[in-house]
């Protein structure tokens, strides 16, 4: 055990809940089907909205004839974009720190032009969803088809017709970076390896689709919004702003959420239309996307093509990386976080784990007539990791070095911190080498190599792949706030001792299944010295929690947890001064453990219930000038570092069936360092879930579009997701390097699994195919791709 300074000692007390796998308090209701998801909510007079959606990727709306639809049974209203624009103002998805980023105004419902298949052109509100669907089929929309630009490279080609004529081209954003002496490094190299990496467009496929119930009450002049969202305060601000309301007139409630992963942190036109319709119609309106709508309008992600080069010396020293990344984001940059962040992250993260000084990058972000893309779990990380780790493996192959050895020689040394990457990312402390050595031991690398060689003689093609990565967590205001977005990088917690002696914590972070409630309860119980079962956590209600950012970008434990820790410690101090007044001693001589005030010898003197009873009901017995304060509120925002970077490494063992092209995942390992682990089980399960999302991307997931901008597989039968049968067991272990910026020392863990999984699998597949001289640089790694690569089909 290392020595720590005083505030941390409470983390390590015998009755500390930090580092323990306690079960989550909210599981009971979910296990019995007693959760309350937005799709379960039903209010008096509630109507249902269904959207009429453009069947064309690009078309002018000539006319909308709703006369027949209005006669439909149960129909309340049919509303066009022009009509709704009177209730809800359009928005523009740009941030000032992404210099040059442009995007046109976007309306809740298209006003005169549809720019992708699935964009809403009219809304039908009826007494039931089925009746609204019936009537929607009777809305007659006349379109005039416009030229479609679907492919990102067509959009970027010189002379391409701009989708938004005012902009003159289709480049939404471009960034260049040139650090060190890149040309000289390539000139000095003993070998140069290069590839063009292709990442399919995929999407989040949360099992509960996006859902919202909006309830405008004209009598109260207040709008109550039930939404499955990761950022209630952000939504409160945006809804208020675009409906012309004061923030105080909008309450956002977030109950159980059926999966999120970044999908539910953005502003969707459908959601804005639903809140506007409630205001217009003066009654509750509900929208639950069906699965086809989810595929056509939930944000998509990735869809990158990235050329990469690496310069290496014979001794394994990597001299330089160079990338040229293109991505297509659809016709609009998504509000308010923008669609330039993923490409920007790719530039920031490529080469990040390595001590390489020379780096050149270019990223171009193109408008196109497909659904929009935006931040989905691990934003940019899987691309940066696959490009970097793909290049490192190719460099190793070029000089005949083992992939592990080249990493050992180039990963940032564990004793070099604080350090900075070529891209300018600041690392407080990472543990690449410790993580690498740990994973090699877990997987028994040498044994795997021996087995691989033995099986290869029998015509069995196994491969092993390794991928080191860095992960952005605990973002400060540098992420969004500095760019002008009203997205809080700060979180708050209010912790109180109630009259029964139980603890209640209101926190601004949200829960979508990660275990936020459990983490906050553990932190608060430990900070105060109360038993875990006496702590209740309240979240997801802008009327009832402190202002804050919510749960996204792996910030819940690190930022929300720290705020809860500080609030809990402050309440503890307040409780001890009450106890000191009662016991007529010094607060400094007392402590709280297991819900009891204890003296220096650890003897219980008085219980929290008794403190509460006296403070609330017999204040007359306390000294006349003493006022008990049994609630404490604290906020926390990271300030010293823009992000708390974490690191880790993943490894995959796979087998390729060279007759069918199928890739079988055999085993998968992860070692990651998220700083202090508050609940090891929850961290491990975050990682496993993240890994499987990355494995889905590696092998299956692909939003397929044709050249006319039609999505070809917008259903769950044709869009393949990972199911239990194809997934391997995943072994997870940790290195713990707490951040010194906070007392708790926790960093995030939500992206790590997704960040490196595809890279590890792609490297493993290429390792397996090495005897064929085949190298694949594209995901998903479909059987067809594999068979083509080995020349079995052409």
């Amino acid at each position: 055990m290392t020595e720590r300074t005083s505030p941390l000692s409470a983390l390590d007390r015998p009755n500390s809940y930090i580092g323990r796998a306690v079960p989550r308090p909210n599981l009971g209701r979910l296990l019995e089907g007693r959760g309350q998801y937005v799709s379960d909510i039903s209010l008096p007079r509630m109507a249902h909205v269904v959207f009429v959606r453009s069947p064309y990727a690009h078309a002018r709306i000539v006319s909308i004839d709703a006369a027949d639809a209005r006669k439909g049974k149960g129909v309340v209203a049919v509303v066009t974009g022009a009509e709704l624009a009177n209730v809800c103002t359009p928005w523009v998805g740009v941030l000032t720190h992404l210099k040059g980023l442009k995007s046109p105004p976007q309306h809740a419902i298209a006003v005169d032009r549809a720019c992708w298949v699935g964009e809403a052109v009219a809304a039908v509100v009826a007494a039931s969803r089925a009746e609204a669907e019936d009537a929607a089929a009777r809305v007659l929309v006349e379109y005039e088809e416009l030229p479609v630009t679907a492919d990102m490279d067509d959009a970027l080609a010189a002379g391409a017709a701009p989708i938004h004529p005012d902009f003159g081209d289709n480049i939404a954003f471009e960034r260049r970076l040139d650090v060190g002496e890149v040309d000289a490094a390539f000139a000095q190299a003993d070998a140069v390896a290069e590839a063009e990496f292709v990442f399919a467009r995929h999407t989040g496929v949360t099992l509960e689709a996006r859902s919202i119930v909006a309830d405008w009450n004209p009598g109260e002049q207040r709008l109550t919004v039930y939404q499955g969202t990761q950022a209630p305060h952000m939504m409160q601000n945006i809804i208020a702003r675009h409906l012309g309301l004061a923030e105080a007139q909008v309450r956002v409630l977030c109950k159980d959420v059926g999966g999120s992963f970044g999908i539910k942190v953005h502003v969707y036109a459908d959601d804005m239309a639903t809140v506007a319709l409630s205001k217009l119609l003066k009654r509750p309106v509900k929208h639950v996307a069906d699965r086809v709508e989810s595929f056509l309008t939930d944000i998509h992600a990735r869809d990158h093509r990235c050329k990469g080069r690496v310069a290496v010396r014979k001794d394994g020293t990597i001299l330089a990386f160079e990338i040229d990344d293109r991505t297509g984001i659809g016709p609009y940059s998504v509000y308010p976080r923008t669609s330039a962040i993923e490409a920007n992250q790719v530039v920031n993260l490529v080469g990040g784990p390595y001590a390489v000084k020379n780096y050149r990058a270019r990223a171009r972000v193109a408008f196109q007539n497909k659904n929009v893309t935006c931040q989905y779990r691990a934003v940019g990380h899987p691309i940066a990791c696959s490009v970097t780790e793909g290049l490192v493996d190719r460099a190793a192959a070029a000089i005949g070095m083992d992939p592990v050895e080249i990493r050992r020689r180039n990963l940032l040394p564990d004793d070099c911190y604080p350090a900075e990457s070529a891209a300018g990312m600041k690392f407080e402390a990472l543990s690449h080498h410790a993580a690498l050595e740990k994973i090699l031991a877990m997987m028994d690398y040498e044994a795997l190599r021996a087995e691989q060689a033995r099986l290869r003689e029998q015509g069995v093609y196994r491969g092993v792949g390794i991928a080191s990565f860095i992960e952005v967590t605990n973002p400060s205001a540098a992420f969004y706030g500095v760019g002008g977005a009203r997205i809080s990088s700060q979180d708050g917690a209010a912790v109180r001792l109630d009259a029964s002696g139980a603890i209640v914590c209101q926190t601004s972070i949200t829960e979508q299944g990660q275990g936020s409630e459990a983490i906050i309860a553990q932190v608060v119980a430990t900070a105060v010295g109360a038993p875990l079962e006496r702590v209740r956590v309240i979240l997801g209600d802008t009327d009832n929690v402190p202002y804050g950012g919510g749960t996204w970008a792996s910030r819940g434990a690190g930022i929300g947890g720290e705020a809860a820790w500080r609030a809990g410690r402050a309440l503890r101090d307040n409780i001890l001064s009450v106890a000191a007044a009662i016991l007529q001693t010094e607060a400094a001589a007392l402590d709280i453990a297991g819900g009891e005030i204890v003296d220096a010898e650890g003897h219980a003197r008085i219980g929290l219930d008794e403190i509460a009873r006296i403070a609330y009901f017999r204040p007359d017995t306390l000294p006349p000038d003493f006022q008990a304060e049994l609630i404490a509120t604290r906020h926390y925002a990271p300030r010293k570092f823009p992000f708390a970077f974490t690191n880790g490494v993943q490894a995959a063992s796979i087998e390729v069936d060279v007759r069918t092209g199928f890739v079988k995942l055999l085993r998968h390992w992860v070692v990651e360092d998220c700083g202090r682990v508050i609940n090891p089980q929850l961290v491990d399960e975050q990682i496993r879930g993240g890994v499987v999302q990355g494995l889905g991307a590696a092998l299956f997931e692909h939003c397929r579009y044709d050249e006319r901008g039609q999505m070809l597989n917008a259903n769950m039968a044709d869009y393949l997701v990972p199911m239990a049968g194809e997934m391997p067991d995943i072994e997870v272990a940790h290195v713990e390097t707490p951040t010194q910026e906070s007392e708790l020392g926790a960093k995030g863990a939500g992206e790590a699994g997704t960040a490196g999984a595809a890279a590890a699998v792609a490297n493993a597949v290429n390792d397996a195919l090495a005897p064929f001289g085949a190298v694949i640089s594209e995901i998903p790694l479909t059987p067809e791709l594999v068979l083509r690569a080995i020349g079995a089909i052409s």
Partner: protein
């Protein structure tokens, strides 16, 4: 749409239910909207994700592919029913202990599918568990913890240590 309604009578979680349903209404909507049994979830409405699984006459079926009218004369059991009866209390406890759910949206149907397997195979291998649950999509967990929880329940039901 025709306004024709169909009279059905069935048993839901052991209670008799009489209702008039639209011919096109599927069982999931009937359970959720008419009976308020919102523990049955809808994920795709086209028979792939498995979130809508309920027991109809003892077999787990997809309630989004079953018309309410088809349940006429049958016995339906939902997550609410098997929870209240205690039938899967041990499985639920194992899921809780192992954190085999995150958002919980897949969980009700996942539990019913797992119970279906455990009733027909007292000692399933991990591979058999994965196979049997392959019609139930879970986006959150990565499945590993679910497989652990089912395996553990089987072991305990066989009389293994808790």
């Amino acid at each position: 749409m025709s306004a024709r309604r169909i009279r059905i009578s069935l048993e839901v979680n052991g209670e008799p239910v009489e209702a008039e349903v639209a011919p096109r209404q599927h069982l999931a909507d009937f359970l959720r909207e008419t009976l308020g049994l919102t523990g049955t979830h809808i994920g795709c409405e086209h028979g792939v994700c498995g979130a809508c699984g309920v027991r109809l006459d003892g077999a787990v079926v997809r309630a989004c592919l079953t018309l309410a009218a088809q349940a006429d004369g049958g016995a339906v059991e939902t997550i609410e029913g098997v929870s209240d009866s205690g039938e899967i209390a041990d499985l639920q406890a194992a899921f809780e202990k192992r954190n085999a759910l995150q958002c919980g949206y897949c969980t009700p149907a996942m539990l019913l599918s797992a119970q279906e397997l455990l009733l027909e195979n007292a000692a399933p291998s991990r591979e058999e568990i994965r196979d049997h649950l392959s019609g139930n999509y879970c986006r959150c967990t990565g499945y590993h913890a679910i497989v652990d929880a089912v395996e553990e329940t089987a072991r305990q039901r066989r009389g293994g240590p808790a």
